[in-house]
Amino acid sequence: MSGTFVGMPAFPEAAHDAVNNRTLRGNLRHATHTIRAKRAKAVAEVSDWAALREAGKQIKDHTLRHLDRYLVQLEESVTAAGGTVHWAADADEANRIVTRLVKETGETEVVKVKSMATQEIALNEALEAEGIRAYETDLAELIVQLGKDRPSHILVPAIHRNRGEIRDIFRSEMGAWGRPAPEGLTDTPAELADAARLHLREKFLRAKVGVSGANFMVAETGTLVVVESEGNGRMCLTLPETLISVVGIEKIVPTWQDLEVFLQTLPRSSTAERMNPYTSTWTGTTDGDGPRTFHLVLLDNGRTDTLADEVGRQALRCIRCSACLNVCPVYERAGGHAYGSVYPGPIGAILSPQLRGTASEIDASLPYASSLCGACYEVCPVAIDIPEVLVHLRERIVEGGPVTREGAKVVLKPAKGHAAERAAMRGARWAFSHPGALRAGQRLASRTRRFHPRTLPGPGKAWSASRDLPEVPAEPFRDWWQRTHGGKDAK
């Protein structure tokens, strides 16, 4: 994945500031709670939601199981429709391909449809380095880009910003990128949207090259599907002469019929709408209508490695609806930036350490960025058991084990830094397998209870910094039972 986040501190430190930032927490709480309630309503309207969820899961699993076959089919269909397919093993290769394709057009500007894949590979930065300017056209992405900020949500990248902050960004930054913000811009949503519309229109009409991702790719016809709310994506897809789409290989659905399921579950899960305002599909090129040249860059970037993991592969079912972010109590307090990736929240916590590996501090801490409350699993429209994958990745970190990296099987060593915990777990396991020892320990705790501190040293300090410890009782239950029901225990 992108180099943008390399060197991020581990999640707990990264979350520390966000937890104490009242504006940020207020913005996030308000936004997530509003959408949470709306989603629940939109989902409750559908009588066969459980069946739709199961169908989505099945379609994705089937496709992933036969991904090799469907990718070849997709390549054939896209080629037959007049497009060109490129294969990119990692972010660098994808960036090189796109940069070359843009350069071949002779242009130095591109307009972009909001896309997670291009953010994942840090395409904008790569293009910038080659003298090509990429303009984001999604309203929230525009806010992030103008604010020299990082996205903090999959669907609403500027969710951490309130209206006042957005007005300030528009006022001070728009001019440097194109049409400046109108004089006296206020923070009413209508004025903000209007300012963005005028600013963007100029770019749409000028651009000769568009860059997009896709929500789905239909293998049988080579069709790419983009669903969106604002229509800016549709502008980018139809106005330029050249269109370059960067799409993760897991985005395939075999047939148009399969789409039907996701076009019901995606909008309800993400924006709590029955149907998203714009659904654009495009297949290759057509004379006199839309782009004359179409390139599809199929991106792996850790996906086949993820696919090789029996438990973890379910993360590839994700349709990026962001429902799991909106219900996550940890995301709500820590904010999206703490996850050190363009994929924040619960899905980010399982996807990033699989796509990027667990070598960096931030990636090794992500599987622990959850209380395993299960709210994410409950809302996921493709039933990704995120808690299960989190625990699986924790195991990979503390116990090591076999993984696939760049196509090769390797065995990870247990991560450093968990030695004390490992020893404690072993000790506890030993005591728990020897009831006599456990009992002795409990008695000791009871006898010494008068001397127990109210705050703890070492790792326990984190507990007692904000919570009081319970008092150890005078007698553990089993001793009481022995004393009062002594003879009854015989099995």
């Binding site: 959850s370 395993l372 396991r429 984190a462």
Partner: protein
């Protein structure tokens, strides 16, 4: 019916009153309860922290100790979920790792027989009015594993509503996690504390005297936060409320 009380290591060590309450309650309802002395821990802390292989012997031990009982009752949604939901998964994983069916077969007998206390009362004994008396205002926090893994639904609420003298107040944002999450509370202390504080604040907004839940681990976190925030409310395990009677009221 031979019923075993699986108290859990946390309750055994730190909350023996909950164990005594379960015993009193079930005995009052005519159940003959045994406490197998060799019981230790279900292995949940190990499993959820990533030490699945260390959790396996604990799960096997659990099966050895409890396998012969007709029902296993535990006053912890979380440990109940460990046995019911995660033991089968441990068996599957062992199989996937080429270690055969042994683990799955060893663990299988205890899985369907393990009940969280409120499930046992409502589903197995078929009672919602357990003859309890508890003259206090109470708000109920459904803990995550009880709510989502076991699907306890409205069972605890129905039991509480039938308690004489008890006034139940709805907890705003009840289904939001309190932020305990086992080792999460230690590994992510800031986020955990923020979640705990929010939970305590919404509990306070009900004006109830008592916050009740079916899991002492969550109550330990919530109670510890309450103490730190000098909240007047008390955390109480649901078993202690259901065990309370006019003759022998619990605080």
């Amino acid at each position: 019916m031979r019923v075993a009380l699986f108290l859990t290591c946390v309750n055994d060590t730190l909350y023996p009153d909950t164990g005594r309450a379960v015993l009193k309650l079930l005995t009052r309802l005519g159940v003959d309860v045994d406490f197998p002395m060799d019981q230790t821990c279900c292995g949940q802390a190990h499993y959820n922290t990533g030490y699945r292989h260390q959790a396996e012997p604990l799960a096997r031990h659990f099966s050895d100790v409890f396998g012969e009982y007709e029902a296993i009752v535990t006053p912890s949604g979380s440990c109940g979920a460990m046995v019911r939901e995660l033991y089968p998964r441990m068996g599957e994983r062992a199989r996937a790792e080429g270690r055969g069916d042994t683990l799955a077969k060893t663990l299988a007998p205890v899985v369907p027989k393990t009940y969280e206390l409120t499930e046992f009362l409502v589903d197995v004994l078929g009672v919602t009015d357990v003859g309890a008396y508890y003259p206090h205002t109470v708000t109920y926090h459904p803990t995550c594993h009880g709510l989502r893994s076991l699907g306890l639904g409205d069972r605890p609420r129905r039991l509480l509503q039938a308690v004489k003298g008890l006034e139940l107040r709805e907890l705003p944002g009840a289904d939001e996690c309190c932020g305990f999450g086992g080792t999460f509370a230690v590994k992510n202390p800031d986020v955990s504390a923020a979640m705990g504080t929010d939970k305590v604040r919404s509990a306070e907004s009900t004006g109830a005297e008592v916050l009740c839940a079916a899991d002492n681990s969550c109550l330990m976190h919530i109670g510890g936060t309450m103490a730190r925030l000098s909240t007047a409310m008390r955390p109480v395990h649901i078993a202690e409320i259901l065990a309370s009677t006019e003759e022998e009221p619990s605080a």
